[in-house]
């Protein structure tokens, strides 16, 4: 993590372009048929359990088995590789990009994700803190908990198979928790963000500064418009 953070540069970057650009790739090999065009607005999953799928993006067909891929984030389609319409693509081929408008909270999270060590979910499963970590969090709060490499930190639960997950990363305190116990987390998504305890004041400074300056920047941008 950088010792010094250039707040002005970071804020300026988000101010000039307050969007995330989410590339959507083919989930498997198959023939592609797009369901959107450039400029289309798309919605993210909704409902109490996020069970209502987002907007359909494309259909991919392999072995006469069509699958609809839906948006996981809301925004506007900023680019589509229309030359691939009806073509056979490999898994992982980039197909389109969603421009997602960032909220203040997301800007803070994005900045934090650049400065924290993110521990990812090894598999799509449900995650829980280990009993020891959970009881320490309940007593003292997550940011008072220091974890070290090799420490059992989570129980990963999949189909009534519980697997202990051991922390691999630099030692530090749990700054951010990105999962809800009992809800499924996709493979690769961050579960927690860790920072060295001596960096906590710096992290807090980032949050305070973004909170204070973001609204001003948005207001001034509105005035300029």
């Amino acid at each position: 993590m950088a010792e010094e953070i250039d707040f002005d540069a970071i804020l300026k970057k988000y101010h000039s372009d307050p969007y995330d650009y989410v590339d959507i790739c083919a989930t498997q090999t198959g023939r592609v048929s797009f369901k959107i065009t450039e400029g289309s607005n798309v919605n993210s999953p909704s409902g109490e359990w996020l069970h209502i799928p987002g907007s359909p993006l494309f259909e991919i067909t392999r072995e006469r088995n069509p699958k609809i891929v839906t948006a996981k984030t809301n925004g506007t389609i900023s680019s589509v590789r229309t030359e691939l319409e009806g073509q056979f693509v490999e898994a992982g081929e980039k197909l389109l990009t969603i421009r997602h408008p960032l909220k203040k909270k997301e800007v803070i999270e994005n900045i934090l994700k650049e400065v924290l060590y993110l521990f990812p979910a090894p598999e799509r499963a449900k995650y829980f803190f280990s009993l020891d970590i959970q009881s320490r969090i309940e007593k003292k709060g997550a940011r008072a908990i220091t974890i070290k490499p090799g420490e059992e930190i989570f129980t990963m639960s999949l189909m009534k198979r519980d697997t202990p997950i051991y922390y691999t990363g630099e030692a530090g305190v749990i700054h951010s928790i990105y999962f809800t116990p009992g809800l499924s987390v996709d493979q690769g998504q961050p579960l927690i963000g860790i920072c060295a305890s001596d960096k906590l004041p710096l992290i807090q400074k980032v949050i305070t500064r973004v909170k204070a300056d973001w609204d001003k920047l948005i207001e001034s941008a509105a005035l300029e418009e």
Binding site: G47, E48, W49, H51, I52, P53, R62, E63, N65, E123, R124, A125, K126, S157, L158, M159, K160, R161, D162, T163, P164, Y166, P181, G182, S184
Partner: protein, 311 residues
């Protein structure tokens, strides 16, 4: 004190190659004899070592300690080792639930080295419910069924419960799956809180059950179903790619044959007793074992873990 229930690897092998093989030759899956032989060979590691104890705290803890002690002395555990106990002193269910494990039941843990690929690993917990249900139906209890994931139920009451825990040995870092099983056989007294929700095999049949024979039957069926998992993994690896929709996984087919979950109205929750989440109707099971449910608003939801209560 010597254990009451003392099956041996030799008696299990005898049962596997005589009784189990014969019953699978008349199986509803209609597999040719050479495939049946192949599946049984894959599963024959089950019960390669059988430890029998009169009592212990928990078989899962015993398994972890056994693996650790063996490695510390320069050895390693035989995959398929079964640890059995006549009674458990401090049995534990999922979360903070207690489990009642007096003399008369079948309490144990099967140790399997983690040689499975991701998909087979995900389906591993199904083998326990399927094997138990097959063994119970083999005694004439035709209405025994599996409730997703692997609870075995008879007439709305729970006959058996299972839990799989993964473990990495501290010395070599080898991965193991510990398949814990608790089956009510001849134990007929339950704590007040469980009287209406639990049942034993002897209560259902109205007579005592030969625990030794049931143990052999259950372990032999575990051998078959774990063999099936390995066999399906081999089939998938032999193909250039695997298309889930083109082929039905034999273990899942058997789960569907034995389960009464599909089509049921259920209450779902990760911890159904403490925190039920929502009502839904079960509409299917996916190739990865995940359950598909339709919510009241008509939308589908897919869950890879959690518990169901029938409504």
């Amino acid at each position: 004190m010597a254990a009451i229930n003392q099956p041996t690897p030799a008696s299990l092998q005898e049962y596997l190659w005589n009784h189990e093989k014969a019953s699978r030759n008349q199986n509803p899956l209609l597999l040719p004899p050479e495939k049946i032989l192949r599946i049984l060979r894959y599963g024959a590691i089950v019960g390669s070592v059988i430890q029998c104890h009169s009592s212990m705290d928990r078989t899962m803890d015993q398994a972890r300690q056994y693996i650790t002690d063996l490695e510390n002395s320069g050895g390693s555990v035989a995959s398929g080792t079964a640890i059995l106990a006549d009674t458990l002193i401090r049995p534990k269910g999922r979360f903070t639930r207690t489990w009642h494990a007096p003399v008369g039941g079948l309490w144990g843990c099967l140790i399997l080295a983690d040689t499975f690929l991701s998909k087979a690993r995900t389906l591993l917990p199904l083998t326990l419910g399927i094997s138990c249900c097959e063994a119970v139906r083999g005694l004439g209890v035709d209405d025994a069924s599996v409730r997703w994931v692997n609870d075995v139920m008879v007439d709305g009451r729970k006959l058996a419960g299972f839990l799989v825990e993964s473990f990495h040995s501290p010395h070599y870092g080898e991965g193991f799956h510990l398949l814990g099983f608790g089956i009510n056989i001849n134990n007929s007294c339950f704590p007040a809180a469980l009287t209406n929700s639990a049942v034993s095999l002897s209560q259902i049949l109205g007579r005592p059950v030969n625990l030794h024979n049931f143990t052999l039957s259950f372990l032999a069926k575990m051998a078959w179903n774990i063999g099936l998992l390995c066999y399906e993994e081999e089939q998938e690896l032999h193909q250039a790619y695997f298309s889930e929709e083109q082929k039905n996984h034999l273990l899942l087919e058997q789960w569907k044959n034995l389960s009464d979950t599909l089509g049921r109205r259920v209450l779902y929750g990760y911890d159904i007793q403490q925190k039920p989440l929502y009502e839904a109707i079960v509409t299917g099971i996916r190739a990865d074992g995940a359950i598909v449910m339709r919510l009241k608003d008509g939308n589908e939801i897919i869950e890879h873990g959690g518990e169901l209560q029938y409504l």
